[in-house]
Every structure is written in C-alpha cells, then in structure tokens.
C-alpha cells in the first residue's frame, strides 16, 4: 500500500494521532451526574414501558430493515433491469472496418482505426446492463457468432487489429437480425475498401480526407537484351488533393544508394525507371517522403536483387528441336539434354541442376529444382488429368500479367491437342480453370506446366515463343525471391522458419501441408524449409489500398457519422450495484440503532 500525499511512516503517525485524539475526546466526555431520588420505581416502570414500546418498534424496524437488506441482496443477485434507471436493453451489432486504409492518420493525430475503436466503445456502453452485443470485423478476424455480454464484447473488441490484407468487405452473411428482431447493426469505417453497406445497417463514418503519396509498384526485371542485367521500375501515385513534392531514397546492398525528388500533381501516377546497375546482389529498399503523409505503409517498398548467373539446365526429351535450339541459344543456360530413360535423380546436392525442362515426360518424384514441363505424363505431384484431351482451340485473347507471359502474344497460337487437367489450387495463367493451358506453382520451388506438346501447336512458330522460354527460365530460376502482399503469406511446407530483415524470428502457423506467417510491415522475410530457402519481399503496393480518399463517405464530416447512435440511455451504473449500496447503508443504520439502544 502506498499514499500519494504522505510517506507510509507519515501516514502511520497521522493515523495514530487521529486515534489518540478521538479516544481522548471520548474519554473527556463527562460521566452522567449521579442524583439520588426517593425511588427509581416509577422510572423503572417508565423505562420498561418505553423499552416494551421501543422494542416493538425496534423489532418492526429491524424486521423491515432486514427484509429490505435481504430483498436488496436477492435483487442484486438477480441483476435486475430497470429501464428508467439504466436504459433500455438493446441488441447492438458492431461491424468494425479493419481494412488497411483505417491506419490512415486523421487531423487529430489519431488514426481512423483509433477513432473507430472509440465509437465502438461508446456503442458498447449503450443500453442497459442487460444489453447484448455482437462485435465483428470486415477482415474475418472475429466471426459474427452470437451476442455476448458487454464485458465480453469489450474484450473481443480489444482483440481486433487492423488487417493489412486488401480483403476487407462487408460480409452479407452476417445474420444479425435472425437472432433478435430488434438488433441494431452499426458499421464503423472509412468507406474506402468496404463500401457496399446494406441500407439496414447504420453507418458511422471515421473518414477524413488525408494526404497520401504511395509507392504502387516496385519491381526488378532482367533487361531483355541482356538477361544478366536487371532494371528497376518504380511507380509513385499521389492520392492527395494537393501538389506534392516527394523525396525518394533508394538503398541497396553494399552501401549503394540514390536520392531523387519529384513533384506529383493531385492524382498523378508517375512511372520511374530505377538505375540499379551499381547495386550489388541483395536487398533494395525504396523510401519516399512527402509532407503531411497520413498513410505510412505505402511509403516504403523492398525487393531483392538476385545474383545473375548461368543456370545448369537439364532438358529431358526424346528430341525437340525448338527447345534444344532456343535453350542452347540462351546465354544464361548451360544445357544438358537427357533422354527420359536416362533421367535419374542426382545423388549429391552439388549435382542438382538449376532447372529441369521436361518435354512430354515427368519423373515420379518431384525434382529438388525448378521445373518447366511440356505436356508431362501424369504424376501425383502434378495437376491430375481430368478427362479427354482438348482439341483444336486457339489461344487468341489470352493475356496475363504473369512474368512468364510478359511481352508474349498468344493471339495466333493454335493448339491441336492438349491435356485436360485439374489445376487444383494452382494458378492458371493461360486458359480457364476448367481448361487450363499454362499452370504455375510455388511450393516453394517454382514450376510451370504447359498442357500441350509444342509440336501439337503453332506456338514454336510464333515470335513470342523464345520470349516465353526466356521468361520461363528467368521466372523459374529466380525462385529465391517471391513478392507478397502484407498480411498473410503461405508456403508449401509442413515446417518453415521465418526471419525478418533484421534477423528476428517471425511467428509461423502450421496449417497441415502449408505454413503461414504474417508479414506485418513492408520488408524482406527469409523463409527456410526442408526444400531450401526463399526470400519474400512483402510490400503493400496496392493502388486500391493507397487510395485512402476514395471513400463512399467522402463529403461527410468526421465524427458526425451518418446516424446519431448515442441515445442518451447510457447504462452507467448498474442497479445491482446500487442495491448492494442500499443494503450496506441499511446495515449501517441497523448497526447505529443497535448502539443507540444502549443509551436510549
């Protein structure tokens, strides 16, 4: 125990002095005067009569007090609801928008998320003590399961955090009104990423226009003419309503750095090449700075410059002039051609090539290296066959942003026959999920599968084929750097350990065959699995998220909200507490009257 005003010893002295003074004053009280009377006989009778009467009243009062105490305690145990005292019992559902844009700072210095939490706390303090609440979010951190008490709801609220993934949406599946017809549903958000709010839901806006200049793209790619050279590409976007002067700082391994400053008009998107010729292999960070920037997540971006090198490539084929010629012409490729019957799994780690190309063949076991497959034979580690072959179709209109198809036109490609496979959860970058043509995967080593034999198509005759092959080699052999969004990343491995750019261990979750971790800030993460090491560059790089002013609530003032949800029926004190207080007061009264009866 401690005291704010006095030391413990001083407090002890004060208490002792108080004790002494009070005791002395009581001791000073003069004793009653002794008076001898002829007889106290009449007085005794008077006192007996008074005692008889006062005993009755005392009994009656004591009974009433005891009844009141008992009833007050009994009622307190039952936690009564008195609307006149504590407000109406309500069912309030609160949906918190915890999408990344809620991390934007407002003019008050608080983030939109902090304002939303304050509104949520106000809502959870609404209504009588018996009101029930449901708290949920738009990122799925807290599923809408059912109504809970105020205390539990506040605990749940404290457990919600802003979500870094761009997957915030208003879940139509929320069945708030099915449990209680009088449910009041409130959405608290900025209306940027979660916009389609049903009319039945009352919205509370925490939106306030903010300045934001963002890095919306940052990538390294090999120079087409010089595959061992890389060039950087940076895209800046100004989502502010004002002209912004932006300072850029680029840092790389070995102390290489560069600085630039650009001016961006409101809404302007600026694509900038980044010269990284002088950069050594390793991490590269781009940092931008602009005045009054309210959203920090998109002000930094990371990537990793892999070391250019020759790739030991094993082509397993029964003979394919196109592949043999083109691969042999690629300066990055050191080609070895092997017949399928001669294929064997290397015994030592040093014998593992950098890339396998399987032409109409696939080994039973997945090689410990990136793989490019052309119409492979069915294997369990590959997408499973799904019926009869596809015949005579064109790839006209097929486009993709995937690096493998970068600068590759499939417009004139005609395919006579292709295998029909089930892509499962792998990414289809050409064709459809039902009729995939080009499938890619990472687990964590990359692979790509073309479902047709190039001899059964016009693809080798197209100008895009060499580019496709070069892209494939580049993408497949740069498997050590993977771009990822913030929030959640999974890797195909039962066990993996993750460290961030500073070497700190990052918590992981094993989910069966995959392992997940949360990149909570832009940066480079190193993932180690049994199959090898992977570098993950996690960045926001999302124009949709960075557009923090594109709100459905734009034009509304901050804090006013679209509804005045505070009804005034704030359930401050709970009646049971007052009842306990009443019981205590009555106990004091009873105690006092008990002592009074000694002197009458």
């Amino acid at each position: 125990m401690s005291f704010l005003a006095l030391t413990f010893f001083q407090m002890f002295l004060l208490a002792a002095a108080t004790f002494g003074v009070v005791s002395f004053l009581y001791w000073l009280k003069p004793p009653p005067q002794r008076v001898t009377v002829p007889s106290t006989f009449i007085w005794v009778r008077v006192m007996q009569e008074r005692k008889r009467r006062s005993d009755f009243w005392r009994w009656l009062v004591s009974l009433l007090v005891a009844l009141a105490i008992g009833l007050a305690i009994a009622a307190a145990i039952g936690k009564p609801v008195i609307e006149a005292l504590s407000g109406r019992a309500r069912h309030i559902a609160v949906i918190l928008d915890n999408s990344p844009t809620m991390l934007a700072t407002t003019s008050s210095g608080d983030t939109r998320w902090e304002l939303a939490l304050a509104h949520a706390h106000d809502l959870l303090n609404e209504g009588s003590p018996s009101s029930e609440f449901m708290v949920t979010d738009t990122c799925g951190q807290l599923p809408a399961t059912g109504f809970v008490s105020r205390r539990r709801a506040l605990e749940l609220l404290d457990g919600i955090e802003p979500c870094l993934e761009d997957r915030g949406k208003f879940l139509e599946g929320y069945a708030f009104s099915t449990q209680h017809e009088d449910t009041e549903v409130y959405f608290i958000g900025d209306g940027v990423l979660v916009r389609d709010i049903p009319d039945s839901v009352q919205t509370i806006s925490v939106f306030e226009p903010s300045d934001n200049v963002a890095i919306t793209a940052f990538a390294l790619r090999p120079v087409p003419a010089e595959p061992t050279r890389y060039e950087g590409f940076l895209e800046l976007s100004n989502y502010s309503t004002e002209l912004k002067r932006v300072a850029m700082q680029i840092d790389g391994a070995g102390g290489a750095s560069g600085q630039r400053a650009v001016t961006l008009a409101p809404g302007q998107v600026l694509g900038e090449p980044v010269d990284i010729d002088n950069f050594l292999s390793g991490p590269i960070r781009v940092l931008i700075d602009s005045p009054d920037d309210a959203f920090a997540l998109d002000n930094v971006a990371y990537t990793y410059l892999a070391a250019p090198r020759r790739v030991e490539t094993v082509l397993v084929t029964r003979g394919n002039a196109y592949l043999e010629t083109l691969l042999d012409l690629d300066p990055r490729v050191a080609l070895e051609i092997v017949a399928p019957e001669d294929y064997s799994v290397p015994e030592g780690d040093g014998d593992i090539p950098g890339l396998y190309v399987f032409d109409r063949f696939a080994p039973e076991q997945r090689p410990v290296a990136p793989v490019l497959l052309f119409r492979p034979t069915g294997r369990v580690w590959l997408p499973a066959p799904a019926g009869v072959d596809l015949r005579d179709f064109s790839l006209a209109g097929v486009t993709s942003d995937h690096p493998i198809l970068s600068h590759v036109s499939l417009t004139d490609v005609v395919v006579e026959r292709a295998a029909r496979v089930d892509p499962g959860k792998h990414e289809v970058i050409a064709g459809t999920a039902a009729e995939p043509v080009l499938i890619v995967g990472e687990n964590p080593l990359r692979w790509a599968e073309l479902t047709f034999d190039i001899a059964d198509s016009s693809f080798p005759l197209q100008a895009g084929f060499p580019i496709f092959l070069a892209n494939a080699v580049t993408w497949l052999t740069s498997t050590d750097v993977v771009s990822a969004a913030l929030g959640r990343f999974t890797v195909q491995a039962r066990v993996a350990s993750v460290t961030d750019g500073r070497g700190n261990e990052v918590p992981t979750r094993s989910l069966g065959d995959i392992t997940a971790f949360n990149p909570e800030a832009p940066g480079l993460y190193s993932v180690r699995t049994a199959d090898g090491e992977l570098v993950v560059s996690a960045n926001l790089l999302s124009p949709k998220v960075s557009a923090v002013n594109a709100s459905a609530f734009a034009g509304e003032s901050l804090d006013a909200g679209r509804v005045d949800y505070l009804t005034g029926s704030v359930g401050g004190g709970e009646p049971w507490l007052a009842l306990i207080l009443v019981a205590l007061v009555l106990l004091l009264i009873e105690w006092w009257t008990y002592h009074r009866r000694m002197t009458v």
Binding site: R34, T40, I42, V46, R50
Partner: protein
C-alpha cells in the same frame, strides 16, 4: 412533651387543638372504623330472629313467640365492640425526601388522626413499616395515651425498602380485630400496592390511604443526562432526559395515583394524595371532608 418537641412542638400542638375544634364540628358521629360489630351475641340491642337449632342457649329463646306460633325461635342481639384504628406509617428510606420530609409529614398525619381517634375513645395502634414492620405500639385507648403515641412516632426511624405486603402480612399475621387501617406512605413499592391491598381486603378492614409525595416527585427537575440512584436499594438507572421521557414519567405517576384511587373507590376505601409543602392540617380537614373517613 418536651421530649418530643422536635416533631410535635408547640406549633403542632396548637394546630392539633385547632383540629380538635374542627373535628368536634365536622365529626358529630364516629370515625368510620368504629363499626357496629357483625358478631351477634351478648349485646342488649335486638337485631333479629332465627330458628332455634340444637346447641343454642335456651335463655335467648322467645317464649312468647313459642306460645303464639308453637315454634322455637331464638332472639338475636348485636354485640357492641370498640373497633381499632391501625395507623401504618411508611418508614422506608424514600420517605426522607421533601421539605418537610415525607416521613415527618406522615408522622404528623398519624399523630393528628390518632389524637382525634383517642378523643373518640377509639383503640389506636401505630405501626412503622418499611420492608416489614419496623416498630409498633400496641393498641391504646383514652386521650391520655396520645403522649405515648407522640413519643413513639418521634422515636421512629427510617430504614430499608418499602414492602406494603410484607408489612401487612407481618402485622396481620397475628390475630387482629377488624378495623380501620390508615396508611401514610408514598406507595413507592416496587412490588406494587395491589398484593398488599388484596391482603387487607381478605380481613375486611376499612382502609384509608394517604399518599404523600414531594413536588420533585411529581415534576422532576433533573439534568439532561443523569444516573439516578434509588435511595432505598441503591440501584441506579442511567437516563438521557427528554421532554417525552418526563411526560412519560408524569403519566406513570398519574397512573399510580389513579390506580390506587380506583382500587379504593371500588372497595369503598378512602384515598387522598398530598404534597409535603401543603400544611398537614389542611390535609386533615380534607380528610374529614371525605365521607369515606367519617361515618
């Protein structure tokens, strides 16, 4: 008389003479206690007839009636008796209060009424009592006995608590003739007056009660908080005075008075209440005026 001058001084004797004159004028008959005896027998005044039964004295048979009616009829005569007056003077410690003290007042009342009784040739006994009979003087008759009674009263001392019942049981425990019992007391008996009065009723005495109180007993003047000590038994009672408590006390005193009064009224007894500042001769005149004292 010089021996008893402290209480029955010349002033008292002058008042006594005055009372004697008043008594001669106001009391032509006898004091109520001087009843005709119920006992039938040896007197000369004819009272009644009754049938003769075996064992009756044949000298009382009315022979003339026998001749007329042919039945043995007995003539009955009232027996003359001089019935006694018993003066009970409360000598408990509670009688020491007042100005003059209640005890002196009671003794003067007893002396004055005793004197009147002796003048009327009544047989007068005086008993001092507290928690029983503390002292007594045997029945005396004749006006010359008044000096003995004065001396007895003068010597009487206060002691102990009040117990009317115990005093009566002690005194009337031995054979006493029925008569007039005069009680001069404050009646501050914790056991109450009723058991004592009930006991007296058993002996069919006529009773006259004189309750003597001080003004302080009727209107107590006490500090706000007091420890009251009982003069008789030394017990104490702590009180916080308040108007309601004083009112309750007065009510209780009034209940005591009306209780005694109604008891006496119910059984044809006499009762007066007086306060010590009232001259005792005035009280005596008041007593004389009560038909319950004078027949």
């Amino acid at each position: 008389m010089n021996e008893v001058s402290t209480l029955f001084d010349a002033e008292f004797l002058r008042k006594l003479e005055y009372l004697k004159l008043v008594a001669n004028r106001m009391v032509p008959g006898h004091l109520r206690g001087e009843h005709r005896a119920r006992k039938r027998g040896t007197g000369v005044e004819f009272a009644d007839y009754r049938p003769y039964v075996s064992g009756d004295d044949t000298k009382d048979v009315d022979w003339k009636a026998y001749l007329r009616l042919d039945k043995l009829i007995l003539r009955i005569f009232d027996e003359e008796a001089d019935l006694p007056i018993y003066f009970f003077v409360d000598a408990s410690n509670s009688m020491a209060f007042g100005d003059p003290p209640k005890f002196d007042y009671a003794r003067k009342v007893a002396a004055a009424l005793g004197y009147i009784g002796l003048l009327n040739l009544d047989r007068v006994s005086v008993v001092g009592f507290s928690n029983g009979v503390s002292d007594q003087i045997a029945a005396k008759r004749g006006r010359n006995q008044i000096w003995r009674i004065f001396r007895f009263l003068d010597r009487m001392e206060m002691t102990g608590e009040t117990s009317l019942e115990r005093a009566f049981k002690t005194f009337f425990g031995t054979k006493r003739r029925r008569g007039l019992v005069v009680i001069a007391s404050d009646f501050m008996d914790p056991e109450g007056y009723e058991p004592a009065f009930d006991f007296l009723r058993m002996f069919r005495h006529d009773v006259f009660n004189v309750q003597i109180l001080t003004p302080e007993e009727l209107k107590p003047q006490l500090p706000d908080e007091a420890m009251l000590v009982d003069s008789e038994n030394g017990t104490s009672q702590r009180l916080r005075m308040s108007p309601t408590l004083i009112a309750a006390y007065k009510t209780e005193m009034e209940k005591l008075k009306t209780g005694i009064e109604s008891y006496c009224s119910r059984y044809g007894w006499g009762y007066v209440q007086t306060q010590t500042p009232i001259p005792f001769e005035n009280l005596i005149i008041r007593i004389f005026k009560q038909d319950r004292f004078i027949r």
